[in-house]
C-alpha cells in the first residue's frame, strides 16, 4: 500500500529526514516511536503534503501513485488521512458543513454523486457515537473552544467520516488522560479492517496497549534504526531511548 524509499526532507533548510524507508501493507498497523526531534512528526506532515517541508530526495508510492506529486487535497481523495497532533481551530467554519464539503469534493474527484443529506446525517450520527463525540460538538465551529481530548476525538470522528485507506495518527495520545485515550483508541480499533492501514506516531508506549501494532519502528536522527514487534515498544518504555542512540551511533561510526 505505502512504500517509502530513502526519503530525505528538510524544513527551513535543515534536514530532518535522512533516508527513511518503510513499507506498509494493507490492514497493518505500524507504530513509529522515537525520541523528541527524531523526525516523527515530520514524517507525518510530509506524507500528508504539508508544504512547509521540502522533500529533497527519495520516493513515496501509495497504491501505485507517486504521493509526492499530489497536493494535500488529492492525497486525501486517494485515501490518505492525517490526524493532526495539534488540530487547528477554525472559527466560523462549521465542523459538519466542512466535512460535507470535503466528502463531496472527494466524491467529485472520484466521479461519484454527492452524498445525500440523509446518508450524511446518518453517517454523522453513527461515527460521532464511535468516539462519544457530543452532537453539539459536531455542529460547532471546527475545534473552536474544544478541550484537548475533544479535539483528538474530533480528529478520529473526521477520520471515520472520511473512511481513509491509510490513516496517520500524529501523537494522537499526547495530552490525553486515560479515559480520553481509551475512547480514541477504541474508535481507531473499530475502524481497523483488512484494507485499511495505520501509521501510529507516538512518543509513549501507553497508546500501544490499546492500539496493538503489527510492527514497531524506532526513528532516530531521521532514519528508522530498529524494527520489531509490539514487544519493542515495551522494551523502549522500560529502557528509554539511550541504548538505541548508542546502537545507532555505533553503526554510523
Amino acid at each position: 500500500m505505502l512504500k517509502i524509499k530513502d526519503l530525505h526532507a528538510s524544513v527551513e533548510g535543515k534536514e530532518i529526514l535522512k533516508g527513511l524507508s518503510l513499507e506498509v501493507k494493507p490492514g497493518e498497523i505500524h507504530a513509529i516511536m522515537g525520541p523528541n526531534g527524531s523526525g516523527k512528526s515530520t514524517l507525518a506532515s510530509v506524507l500528508a503534503g504539508n508544504e512547509d517541508f521540502e522533500v529533497t530526495s527519495g520516493s513515496v508510492d501509495f497504491l501505485g501513485d507517486d504521493l509526492l506529486e499530489l497536493g494535500p487535497d488529492e492525497r486525501s481523495h486517494k485515501g490518505v488521512f492525517l490526524a493532526f497532533q495539534y488540530p487547528v481551530e477554525i472559527p466560523g467554519v462549521s465542523n459538519i458543513n466542512f466535512l460535507k464539503a470535503a466528502i463531496n469534493e472527494r466524491r467529485e474527484a472520484l466521479g461519484e454523486e454527492p452524498i445525500t443529506a440523509k446518508e450524511f446525517l446518518q453517517r454523522v450520527k453513527e461515527k460521532a457515537s464511535l468516539v462519544e463525540l457530543d452532537n453539539k460538538l459536531t455542529n460547532r465551529s471546527v475545534n473552536e473552544g474544544f478541550s484537548g481530548g475533544e479535539k483528538k476525538r474530533n480528529e478520529i470522528f473526521q477520520m471515520a467520516m472520511l473512511e481513509p485507506k491509510l490513516a496517520i495518527l500524529d501523537e494522537t495520545d499526547s495530552g490525553l488522560d486515560i479515559d480520553a485515550l481509551r475512547i480514541v483508541a477504541n474508535g481507531v480499533n473499530q475502524l481497523r479492517s483488512e484494507d485499511r492501514s495505520f501509521v501510529v506516531v507516538t512518543h509513549y508506549q501507553r497508546l500501544l496497549d490499546h492500539i496493538v501494532p503489527d510492527f514497531v519502528h524506532v526513528l532516530y536522527d531521521g532514519k528508522i534504526v530498529k524494527t520489531g514487534g509490539k514487544d519493542l515498544a515495551l522494551e523502549l518504555e522500560e529502557k528509554g531511548y539511550d541504548w538505541i542512540k548508542r546502537e545507532a551511533s555505533a553503526v554510523t561510526a
Binding site: 497536493g71 481523495h77 477554525i90 467554519v93
Partner: protein, 418 residues
Amino acid sequence: MDLAKEMTKEQAVLDSLKSSYNHAVADSFGSTSSKSLVNLESLELPTTKVEYWKYTRTGQIANKDWKFGDLDSVDLPENLPVAKHRMVFVNGHFDSKRSTLPEVEGLSILPFSKSKVEDSIALSEEDIFRAWNTAMPQDGYVISLAKKKVIEDPLQMVFLYSGKNTIAQPRSFIEIAENSELKISEFHIHTTGSLAFANAHSEVIVGDNAHLKVDIVQHGSEKGFHLHEIFGEQGKNCTYTQNTFTLSGNWTRNNTTFRLTDEHSECNLYGFYIPNLKEHIDNHTIIDHEKPNCVSNELYRGVLLDKSTGVFNGKVFVRQDAQKTNAFQSNGNIVVSDTATMNSKPELEIYADDVKCSHGSTTGQLDDEAVFYLMARGLSKESARKLLINAFAEDVLEKLVNEELREIIEDTIHTKLA
C-alpha cells in the same frame, strides 16, 4: 506659485460644475446652497497632509473635467430583490418611470428637489465635497416617517452612475419620528466601464424610541470615484444600524458620522469590503457619545486582494457628560496578497471616567495552517480559502437587515476569490 496653481484647480472644478449644473434646487434649500457656494471660494481639496485624508488621495479627482450627466437609460442590476417601494436615480436624476412608490399613510418619500428640506446638519464650510454637494445638490431621497409608524418591507433606493467624466451629487435626507421603525436597502452602482464621480451625501435624524436599519451595497467601476457621506443625529432610546458592503470600485471613500445626543441610544456601524486589483477603499467613522448610557458597536472587516489598499479610521468620542458609555470598536483584515496594503487606525477620545470602551484592529494573512488542515481533509485550496474568508465575512453578513442581499454579496466574494 504652487498654492496659486492648487487654487485654480479647485476653481476649475467649480466652474465646470457650475456650467453644467442642470438641476432645480428646491426653494427651501436655496439659501443653504448659496452659502455653500460662498464657502467654496475658500475651500481646498484635502491633501494627504490632512489627518482625515492621510491615506486617500484626491488628486485624481481634481484633475478631471467633471460635468453633470443626464438621466441615461441604464439597466437595473438583474439580481435586485423585488421591492414594494423603489426609487431609482440615474446620475443624480430621479427616474420616476422605474420607481414605485405606493401610498402609505404616515410615510412620505420624495426626490430631494421636491422636498421642503431647508438646512443641513452637516456644516458645509468644513469640507469641500460636502460643500460641492450642498451648493449644487441633485436628487436623492427625502423620507419622513410619522410617529408610531412601522414599515416592515425595506425601502429600496437604487443609485446608478454612468457616463464619462460624469459627476453626480445625490442629496438624501431621512427623518423618522418617535416610536417609528424603518428599513432601507440602498444600492450605489457604477456601470461597467463608466468614469463617474459620485459625491453622495445623506443626513439622518432618528427620533426618540425609533429604529432605523440601513443596508448599503456599493458597486463601483474600475475607473470611477465614489464618496458617500452620512451624517446622523440620534435622540433618546433609539437605534441606528448601518451595514456597508463595498464590493468593488476603483476609489471609494465612506464618511459616517453619528452624534448620540440623548440617553440610552444605540449606534451600530458595520462594514465589509473586498477590494482587488488596484482598488482603494477607505472607511472613516465618527461616533460622538454626548450623553450618558449610550451604546455603540462597530465591526468592519476587510479582505484585501492583489494590489488593493484599504483604510479604516474609526473615531469614538466620549464626552465628559457621557458616563456609562459602552463603546466597542473592531476592525479586522485579511491581507491575501503580498502587494495589498491596509492602514487601520482605531481612535478613542474619552473625557468621562465611568465608561466601558474597547477598540482593536487586526491585520493578518490567511491562516496557512487552517488552509492545510482543510486541504488535508480533501478541500481544494480554492475551497479552503473561500470557506475561511466566508467565515470571516459572516460576522458582518449576519448583521444584514435584508437577507435577500446576501446572495449578491456572496456572489461577489466568490467571483473575486476565484
